[in-house]
Amino acid sequence: MKLLVSLLLCLCIPAVWAAESTTPKPDIGKGGQCVKDAQWMRLNHMHLLKHQRDETVRKGVREEQNSLKNCVECHASLSNNSVVAREDGFCVACHRYEAVKIDCFECHASKRRATLVTKDVK
């Protein structure tokens, strides 16, 4: 029992220490609040996005404010216009910290619209 407790303690200490030093500090881009407060968004953004995606794709209900496109528009980094390009990108910073894979940007644009030049046709 003692062994177990000490083992747990040993495991906890570096975790606490690590948590303080490496808490993600995402580059929030333009930032600002448009849907809900930051804490609420941290917890619930995935539900919003998932609900929104089904509504939009399958029913054609397009709600500009809750769209992924709109998130990117404000939160893309001001230095490289992307939410995933750098370690501290708005989406990447926390997702990497929590080790949760983001699937969105395999298909969705991760950059601010204005910076996407129309591709030349081959």
Binding site: V57, G60, E63, E64, E106, A109, K111, K119, V121
Partner: protein, 238 residues
């Protein structure tokens, strides 16, 4: 006792109802203010009438416009996506040559939707046949089932997609009738780009629309009409 209870219930009901009446317009306003659209309506059936007599054999404007609008590479290799393509057809019996654009025909009874194991292929209420790339597992059964070869499979990693047109590796895609434009009240990019006005886009159900009246006044055909899929894209002059 029961009397007070009933009264209490009635009061609660009324006040809830009143609250709902008070909030609803606010919600509605909120929705409109935030650019929320109504969504696709089943009263509408989007379609196209393509006048092949106006389609020039050497013109590729619709294809180019589609590629630009949807962020396709425009490559022509066997693994490149082609949402719309120009086809030259020659009547074997008399040698008459016709040129026409071919894309997803947006069937009323789409075989791709029937065969899709995950409901990723679906038909929107307004008749547009789409692939929900969130559900597509990339089995390609729909490509086998489509009588028009309208669908392409994304064979490699893509970057810098158009924000309005998400597409990605490992899923199947096809002409969406520029659904993102339609939802904004615009017409599909190919119809807009056609200099000869060979592509007429509109609501096949709207008695006041040009397409409704033209489909009733000129002879038009559905491709592979024998399959009875009731396509949304019709061809004139074949």
């Amino acid at each position: 006792m029961s009397d007070t209870n009933t009264q209490r219930r009635e009061f609660l009901k009324t006040s809830l109802g009143a609250a709902a009446v008070a909030i609803a317009p606010g919600m509605l306003l909120y929705s409109t203010a935030n650019g929320k659209t109504e969504g696709a309506s089943s009263q509408v059936r989007w379609g196209m009438l393509i006048d092949t007599t106006q389609c020039k054999p050497d013109c590729n404007d619709c294809v180019t416009a589609c590629n630009t609008e949807n962020g396709l590479s425009g490559g022509k290799s066997a693994t490149d996506s082609q949402w719309i393509r120009k086809i030259e057809i020659k009547d074997v019996s008399n040698g008459r040559v016709t040129s026409l654009p071919m894309m997803c025909q947006h069937c009323e009874h789409p075989p791709c939707v029937d065969v899709c194991p995950t409901q990723a292929s679906f038909k929107r209420a307004d008749g547009i046949v789409l692939v929900d790339r969130h559900l597509c597992i990339g089995c390609r059964y729909c490509m086998m089932a489509c009588p028009y070869k309208a669908r392409s499979f994304v064979h490699e990693t893509l970057t810098d997609q158009n924000p309005d047109v998400p597409r990605g590796k490992g899923t199947v895609e096809a002409c969406s009738l520029c659904v993102h434009r339609i939802d904004k009240g615009q017409i599909p990019a190919c119809a807009e780009a056609c200099q000869n006005k060979a592509i007429l886009f509109g609501n096949l159900n709207d008695t006041n629309s040009e397409i409704y009246n033209k489909v009733r006044s000129v002879a038009s055909k559905q491709i592979r009409a024998d399959l009875q899929l009731n396509t949304g894209v019709r061809y004139q002059g074949l």
